[in-house]
């Protein structure tokens, strides 16, 4: 009944779907196993994709040939480019999603791929021989063989849901937990830990008074995620902003004695940057209000997500507190918020391909690695799926470095530093932020995605056209000069200094007050020149011209630091000899076995002086 698969993916969330899609598209026969076919690609938390740093990741996934961008485009109900007022490296696409449509589109996309088979059941065991995974065993006792296995278990491994003093096993509300895998992996020598996350109540949108809230609309001319020709939205739904107040806080405090977080019933560590509302009022007692972001869950539902109100207090306390929020006076609650604890495996046990060091051909992606966020999970799934395929075909590892992609930053952080709390991506984690922009992910990555057989030829054609046209336009702007008498009037009206002699359009574009739009107004000739290019090309050229010096500075830094990346450390290097390095440093180095001095320098617990010592011993 079951053939031998190339790749088995366990779990069908953001990570699992990307993994299955990538491996299958590259040519592997893939079996996607999920506990419930109805919940493929569920958005367990808020109905939104992207955001600061996360939006860049979605663009990177798309550039490599992953699906998250396309699915987001097809299911979004609102689009905003965040941080427009800041530099282009900060521009971050974000959309509100139709939760049900998102799941439907993902399942449909996977069903369209003939290399993907599905199976609904819980995987309870891995088949391991000689430290090599050869398949999985399900709850029914079925053994299915595969060359590689990708685990994307999300919050399901021994998931424990808390609402007030009640708790019950489950991976999401109304869904069971998964057991067996953690215990087996620990027996195999893996280190496991516990993490915690939470989610807010969902409420009835018909019971809210939006007149008491601030409206937040989507962008006037909305963009989208994918570099392919998906369609931007023509109609959008708004989100709403309101705030908690002292009365809300007082109400919440009445439940503190029953809080699983404060009572110590929750052992796992939660994310500091996405705290529960009780945590917020507890830790920041001086703040008299906190923002609440009211998000619609889709086109065809009245359900609403109360972002900023994540809580595991008793459901009656949640309800009473919600009713004190302006606009929520008559709220009807659909589902209470809850906290969930789950198993993860410290990601320092992984190679840069996301394959485990202990068991060959076994890959981990998503929350099992201690991350949080759809985008973080999806990009790991993509990389694990790609590498599972490569491994099963005896092909080269596929990795990205820190100067190439946020994905590279994320995986490098995970495997070298590990994480004590759910890891979320920030732009500040990337030292080469100016290079890792949402507008150039295709230029950075599409060719690479094509070379491994994931990104389509169409994508490569698109990006090559983009590169060529940008170059061409830049050249034209360099050559094309304007004279003072032609443009001085307009320059003056734009609030920028006038010309004394002719200058190129390129030079004018470097001025702070002059963008491509302003250039167009200079002369009809210029307007005609620029009119022929798409918005995307114009944006690309404008960014590269305007921010040239910043981009160059960062590129220099990359080159400088890459020297450390080129100092190889032999795999057999015996760190125990280095008595001069701190014991912690030695242990970490021996455990992680960095390939280069550069990587060694990023391992947490390895100090700069440890690295200097290492360099002295390596004869530098």
């Amino acid at each position: 009944m079951y053939k031998q698969y190339d790749v088995i993916v366990v779990g069908a969330g953001h990570a699992g779907c990307e993994a299955a899609h990538a491996a299958a598209t590259m040519g592997s026969s893939v079996l996607l196993i999920t506990m419930n076919m109805h919940t493929i690609a569920q958005m367990s938390c808020n109905p939104a994709m992207g955001g600061v740093a996360k939006g860049q990741i979605v663009r990177e996934i798309d550039a490599l040939g992953g699906m998250s961008g396309i699915i987001s485009d097809k299911s979004m109900i609102q689009f905003r480019m965040l941080n427009r007022s800041k530099g282009p490296a900060m521009w971050s696409p974000r959309c509100q999603s139709d939760r049900m449509k998102f799941a439907e589109e993902w399942r449909y996309a996977l069903e369209q791929n003939l290399n993907v088979d599905f199976w609904q059941e819980m995987v309870s065991e891995l088949l391991v021989e000689n430290n090599k995974v050869i398949g999985v065993k399900t709850q029914l006792g079925i053994e299915i063989k595969a060359k590689a296995v990708v685990l994307t278990n999300g919050t399901f491994l021994n998931g424990l849901i808390h609402i007030g003093e009640k708790n019950f096993g489950g991976g999401r509300t109304a869904e069971g937990k998964a057991t067996g895998i953690t215990e087996q992996l620990v027996r195999l020598g893996f280190e496991a830990g516990r993490m915690k996350t939470g989610t807010p109540p969902r409420v009835d949108g018909r019971s809210l008074d939006y007149s008491k809230m601030e409206e937040q609309k989507g962008d006037e001319s909305p963009n989208k995620f994918s570099y392919l020709d998906t369609k931007p939205l023509s109609e959008q739904r708004s989100c709403w902003i309101t705030y908690t107040n002292q009365a809300v806080h007082d109400e919440l405090k009445t439940g503190f004695d029953k809080s699983p977080m404060f009572s110590g019933r929750i052992k796992g560590l939660g994310p500091r940057y996405c705290p529960s509302v009780e945590d917020k009022i507890n830790r920041f007692a001086d703040k008299d209000r906190h923002q609440i972001f009211v998000e619609p869950e889709g086109w065809n539902t009245v359900e609403v997500y109360v972002n900023g109100f994540s809580t595991s207090l008793p459901e009656d306390v949640q309800y009473n507190a919600l009713r004190k929020i302006p606009g929520f006076e008559n709220v009807k609650m659909f589902r209470p918020g809850y906290a969930i604890e789950y198993d993860y495996f410290p990601p320092t046990q992984l190679k840069s391909t996301l394959e485990t060091k202990l068991v060959e051909n076994l890959f981990f992606a998503g929350q099992i690695n201690g991350t949080t966020g759809y985008e973080e999970a999806a990009c790991q799934g993509l990389m694990a799926g790609i590498n599972a395929h490569q491994k099963s075909e005896n092909k080269a590892d596929f990795t990205l470095n820190r100067s190439e992609a946020y994905i590279g930053v994320l995986i490098d952080d995970l495997i070298n530093k590990g994480t004590e709390e759910p890891y979320r991506m920030f732009t500040s984690r990337a030292e080469y932020r100016t290079l890792l922009r949402q507008d150039n992910a295709d230029i950075r990555l599409t060719q690479k995605g094509f070379e491994i057989g994931l990104a389509s030829e169409e994508r490569v054609k698109n990006v090559n056209t983009k590169i060529e046209q940008s170059k061409f336009l830049t050249e034209e702007l360099k050559i094309k000069k304007v004279k003072p008498d032609e443009v001085n009037n307009i320059l003056e009206s734009l609030g920028t200094s006038t010309l004394r002699e002719g200058t190129s359009l390129l030079n004018l574009l470097k001025r702070p007050n002059i963008g491509i739009e302003e250039l167009k107004t200079l002369t009809p000739e210029v307007e005609e020149l620029i009119r022929n290019y798409s918005t995307e090309i114009l944006e690309q050229v404008e960014i590269n011209v305007k921010y040239e010096s910043y981009i160059e500075k960062e590129q220099l830094m990359v080159e400088k630091v890459s020297r450390l990346e080129n100092l190889l450390i032999p795999e057999s290097f015996d760190y125990s000899k280095l008595t001069t390095i701190s014991i912690e440093g030695r242990q970490k180095l021996a455990k992680i076995k960095p390939a280069t001095i550069g990587q060694a320098s990023r391992i947490s617990g390895v100090s700069a002086s440890d690295v200097s010592v290492l360099m002295v011993y390596m004869g530098r």
Binding site: L82, N83, R429, Y550, M557, V616
Partner: protein, 459 residues
């Protein structure tokens, strides 16, 4: 990994009363004990000194005494290298030194590589990078002031100051980063004016450090001081007077000094590199013309000019011209009227009316030479360097401080032009990177750790 024991002569080779041989490594005490007659060193406490003799072939019929020595004992980890170490103070005879080292090598020590003691100190965590570099400076230092600076740096004053700066800057950076990553969320951050004040504060610490490099360099490399004057104004005589030795060729014939002569003079621990020059006379003599050319070059390179004149000979207008040139060069200068004993009071008064700050001396008769020396050190010291201040002497440190300074200036300029936080952050990161190059670390973790420890972030 330092399983072997190393030894080397720690004092300079050459003539001296006492020489010190240093031994460091796990077998140090055992090895030295084998060749030492006196107390049993293996039973002695750390930081003790023992008198005894170093002997060859101990216990054998032909046992011989090599030297009477003092042995200073340091036990790990409270020694310079953090290893067991011994310093043997012996008499500084080439034969004795060589013999002792030879016996040490025979007993299992090996000869240390240059700088290996310091390298061990560094590898064993005794010194950080900046401190290790200062040790190198300390070893090379050959004047009192230079020594003092290096000592201060070894004690960690400089590293500490940089670490403090870096912390302040990380705070700054985290506020900006917070704004970038959570701009759309419910967060609070400090306003731009606070940020500007913070940078100003940092710059106020940074600038003196950078300026101290110039001074630090003076301390390390000496103050190049050029002696200028018309031929026969007495330059070579003055030089000889200051140095108390006949270095320059002195004669009464104008233009005797045809080459640039350089020597060193220590006054109050400051090293002056005195450079005598050929005169500034227009000449047809080729050899002397080359000398004049060199003089001009020396003036350009000098940190201080001593202009020597003979009031009975020089035209006031010519001297004015000369002074204007010095002023233009920006190099501090001192006007010295030589042959004080031969100048009338009226002449002196006439010169003092036209020129400020003339110092009258007689090089030949040794008049007011002490005043001149005092004035020389005053000139150096008034450039705002007090002893005990942190002084940057290492070129690498200086360059990183300079880069930090520049990056922070870019931030300030950015604030002036209200550029967005991501670009401010880039320059702040550069600044942090360069400070980290001095103290040894920079990771984005620092930023995040700071963000989360100080600010409320909600969703």
């Amino acid at each position: 990994m330092n399983q072997d024991t190393i030894c080397a002569l720690a004092t300079p080779q050459g003539i001296g009363a006492i020489a010190v041989i240093r031994v460091s490594g796990p077998d140090t005490i055992q090895i030295v004990n084998k060749i030492f007659r006196g107390k049993n060193l293996e039973k002695q406490a750390s930081h003790t000194i023992h008198f005894g003799t170093i002997r060859d072939k101990i216990g054998q019929p032909d046992e011989v005494v090599i030297d009477e020595v003092l042995v200073s004992l340091f036990r790990a980890p409270t020694s310079y290298t953090k290893e067991d170490s011994v310093e043997i103070s012996c008499h500084a005879s080439d034969y004795i030194i060589r013999k002792i080292i030879k016996i040490l090598l025979r007993e299992g020590a090996r000869l240390a590589h240059p700088g290996e003691f310091t390298q061990r100190a560094f590898l064993n965590g005794q010194l950080d990078l900046a401190q290790a570099e200062a040790v190198a400076d300390l070893i090379a230092s050959d004047s009192e002031a230079s020594h003092q600076t290096a000592i201060n740096q070894v004690r960690g004053g400089f590293s500490k100051q940089i670490a403090q700066l870096r912390e302040a800057l990380i705070h700054f950076a985290s506020m900006i980063e917070l704004e970038l990553d959570f701009g759309e969320e419910d967060v609070e951050f400090a306003d731009r004016d606070d940020l500007r004040q913070l940078i100003d504060r940092i710059q106020k610490v940074l600038v003196p450090l950078i300026e101290s490099f110039e001074m630090g360099n003076v301390i390390k490399n000496g103050v190049p001081t050029v002696i200028v004057g018309k031929p026969n104004a007495g330059k070579s005589t003055l030089l000889n007077r200051l140095l108390n030795e006949e270095k320059a060729i002195v004669s009464d014939i104008a233009g005797t000094t045809r080459d640039v002569i350089e020597d060193e003079l220590f006054i109050e621990g400051i090293r002056f590199r005195l450079i005598d020059t050929a005169g500034l006379r227009k000449t047809a003599d080729t050899i002397e013309a080359i000398g004049v050319e060199r003089t001009l070059q020396q003036i350009e390179k000098a940190s201080m000019i001593l202009y020597l004149f003979d009031a009975s000979e020089i035209e006031m207008s010519q001297m004015k011209e000369q002074e204007t040139e010095f002023m233009a060069s920006g190099t501090p200068y001192l006007l010295i009227g030589n042959k004080l004993d031969k100048i009338s009071i009226e002449k002196k008064a006439e010169f003092e009316q036209n020129f400020a700050g003339i110092l009258w001396i007689s090089a030949l008769e040794d008049l007011n030479i002490q005043d001149l020396k005092a004035e020389l050190t005053r000139k150096v010291k008034t450039r705002e360097v007090k002893s005990g201040d942190t002084v940057v002497t290492n070129l690498r440190h200086y360059q990183h401080l300079l880069q930090t300074h520049e990056a922070l200036n870019n931030v300030l300029e950015g604030l002036d032009h209200s550029i967005t936080g991501d670009f401010l952050a880039q320059d702040i990161r550069f600044a942090l990177h360069h400070l980290g190059e001095i103290t040894g670390q920079i990771t984005t973790d620092d930023l995040l750790a700071n963000i989360f420890s100080k600010f409320c972030i909600g969703k």
